[in-house]
């Protein structure tokens, strides 16, 4: 079906609304001028500036480490939760458990951040890399659980039974049959978790300590002193990186659903 003129206009307007600010940001990241709002010709000097900015690089490295560790931990925990909820016997309160797992998806980040801060203070934990990582793990594991659970629900239960019938104990049946079929969903979940962790400002600022700022915290504090063109360059890099991960995640989930049967997680 061809799009009518009205539909084309609506689509263009919608996309412009979403992407115009980003396009402006990307273009201005190549601005040669020192002033953010004045165009001074093409240049990549702000990218060079960023790669020489020690503090900014430290923050980026911190974000990368938090992302890697928390995404991996969230993938493990989220998968376990998904397996327990789809594969476990129908225990009492199962619906409640499943609802509780999903609630953090819609919980305001301020509340999550504040409650974690209170917990860390009460435990007298030194705030820094590990507290942010733990906070991000708890934020992102429910996203992983959703993705993996929808894949598991689409898998035929008799596949595991067949594996057991052919000599696998339940654990080996999981490793030999279920895991190969859900790993694309797990990979998609991991990438999603990593992206979320990289994006997060609110929870990280509640749970981090002195000297361990993540990239969004660093950018935010820089911007408060005035926007430097260097920030545009960093943001452009982040956008590119996240775009790659999102495409990767959706490819992985497509692969996951083309194997076997139904239920595309993303």
């Amino acid at each position: 079906m061809r799009l009518s003129r009205f539909n084309i206009a609506a689509l263009a307007f919608g996309l412009a609304f979403l992407y115009l600010p980003i396009v402006v940001l990307v273009i201005y990241s190549f601005n040669a001028s020192k002033l953010v709002t004045v165009w001074g010709g093409w240049s990549t000097r702000w990218y060079t500036e960023f790669f020489n900015d020690r503090a900014m690089l430290d923050a980026a490295w911190m974000s990368a480490r938090v992302g890697l560790v928390s995404a991996t931990a969230a993938t493990l925990l989220g998968t376990l939760a998904a397996v327990a909820l789809t594969r476990g016997a129908r225990f009492r309160g199962r619906t409640l458990m499943s609802g509780m797992l999903y609630a953090p998806l819609v919980m305001p980040e301020v509340i999550t951040g504040l409650s974690l801060l209170l917990l860390f203070v009460a435990l007298d934990a030194e705030r820094g890399f590990w507290t942010v990582t733990i906070a991000h793990t708890s934020l992102t594991m429910c996203f992983v659980a959703v993705v993996v659970q929808s894949r598991l629900a689409g898998l035929d239960r008799s596949l595991e039974e067949a594996a057991m019938d052919l000599g696998c104990d339940p654990a080996r049946a999981f490793v030999a049959v279920t895991l190969p079929l859900i790993w694309p969903a797990m990979a998609a979940g991991w990438m999603l978790a990593f992206t979320l962790s990289l994006d997060d400002l609110v929870i990280a600022s509640f749970t981090t300590g002195p000297g361990s700022a993540t990239l969004p915290i660093r950018i935010y504090s820089e911007v408060r002193l005035g926007v430097k063109p260097e920030i545009n360059a960093i943001c452009t890099l982040i956008i590119g990186f996240i775009a790659v991960l999102i495409v990767g995640a959706s490819l992985a989930s497509k692969l996951s659903s083309s194997r076997g049967d139904s239920a595309a997680p993303l």
Binding site: L159, A162, A163, M164, D165, L166, A176, L181, R259, G260
Partner: protein
């Protein structure tokens, strides 16, 4: 449960019963029950299956046949009773430790593995040496005629090919007992008939004991040595296909297996192995006396449509035959057979099946034709009401 032999005429009773030949069954199910919440799926069921037998569990959906099969495979644990395999109670043994394999209804082939790896899956778990695994896979591939498809993935196979892979995978470990859950349900009619013959051939060649679950009577009748008919978690009758059809043990079985005319009646005279019965809507009939004593005079007569003949006039050699007059009210042409509905002058309706032996159809009876329906006393089964 009445055993089939009690009520059988001698000719059918002499059909060899495998039960007599072996003293110890391969599989003994002893008083097994299984409940799901308030629903009793299997209710104190006992059954013996001999080594080398092809046994079918037949029944309407929800009768507990699949639950019984899953208990044999180990996916469900009985609430009560024993399951003895070769004399050993396996009721609590986990699926992977049983010398039993199952072919799943939807085949449950591993989508990420090739045909070869699917078949080899169980052999690898058994930690067989590699050359042995390769040899067995090759043997299985040849057995189910899958040559050339070893590298394909399940989604590149047709329904019939998937069915063969599932069979090969289940047989590869050389189980003592192979369980088949509706193995042919997903195939179309023609392929199903071919596959039935192949399965029987395979079973005879390997000598493996097969227990098949099916809701398809024709499938059970064609393939099985013996059939256990289940209803509400219990076995109604265990018998050879022929006994089941010709000597149903109860009114329910008679109605469930094949097509049948059921007429209620009252025994008025019992003499020289013949009963005279006042049948409701069919007049006075003479039938053979059953071997088992009847609990009361109120009985039910069961007669298969193809055991009744039709003619325009009463048969001349009517000695001992029952003949009842009526009118044809409906004719169903099925190709090989025609099924006639005959309204008897006494009130009852009979279904009569006649083979269409004459291509030009000169002897067919049309609607409204006055006919005489007749049958021999031995062709009628007497059942308690």
């Amino acid at each position: 449960m009445t055993t089939a032999t009690d009520i059988l005429p001698d000719a059918i009773a002499e059909a060899p019963l495998i039960v007599a030949a072996y003293p110890m069954p391969l599989l003994r199910v002893d008083g097994v029950s299984k409940k799901f919440g308030a629903f009793t799926a299997v209710d104190g069921l006992s059954l013996d299956i001999q080594a080398g037998e092809f046994f079918a569990l037949l029944g309407p959906s929800g009768c507990g046949k699949t639950t019984l099969l899953r208990m044999l495979a180990g996916f469900e644990t009985p609430d009560a009773g024993k399951i003895l395999l070769d004399g050993e109670d396996i009721a609590a043994v986990l699926p992977h430790q049983r010398p039993v394999n199952m072919m799943f209804q939807n085949y449950a082939l591993f989508p990420h593995l090739s045909v070869r790896d699917n078949i080899a899956f169980g052999l690898k778990r058994a930690a067989l040496p590699k050359p042995e695994i390769a040899a067995r896979v090759a043997e299985m591939v040849a057995l189910v005629k899958l040559g050339g498809l070893e590298k394909r993935k399940p989604d590149q196979l047709s329904g019939g090919q998937k069915q063969r892979v599932a069979l090969a995978r289940a047989l590869a470990r050389r189980p003592q007992l192979l369980l088949l859950d509706e193995p042919l349900a997903a195939l179309d009619k023609k392929l199903r008939e071919e596959t039935q013959a192949e399965l029987m051939e395979l079973q005879r060649r390997l000598g493996t004991t097969f227990v098949i679950v099916t809701h398809d009577q024709d499938e059970a009748m064609t393939m099985a040595d013996r059939i256990g008919v289940m209803k509400d978690g219990r076995l109604e009758q265990v018998a050879t296909p022929r006994q089941l059809y010709e000597a149903p043990a109860s009114r329910w079985i008679a109605g469930f297996v094949g097509d049948i005319n059921l007429i209620e009646g009252e025994v008025t005279l019992q003499d020289a192995h013949r009963l005279t019965v006042a049948a409701a809507g069919a007049g006075m009939l003479t039938v053979a006396e059953p071997k088992a004593p009847l609990p009361s005079r109120a009985i039910c007569l069961a007669i298969r449509p193809e055991k009744i003949r039709l003619s325009r006039r009463a048969p001349t050699s009517a000695g001992g035959l029952n003949s009842i007059e009526g009118v044809v009210t409906e004719v169903g042409y099925l190709g090989g057979l025609s099924v006639y509905k005959v309204q008897l002058d006494h009130g009852a309706t009979l279904r009569v099946a006649l083979a269409n032996t004459n291509r030009l159809d000169v002897d067919a009876y049309g609607v409204g034709q006055k006919v005489v329906a007749w049958f021999a006393p031995d062709d009628c089964v007497v059942l308690p009401r």
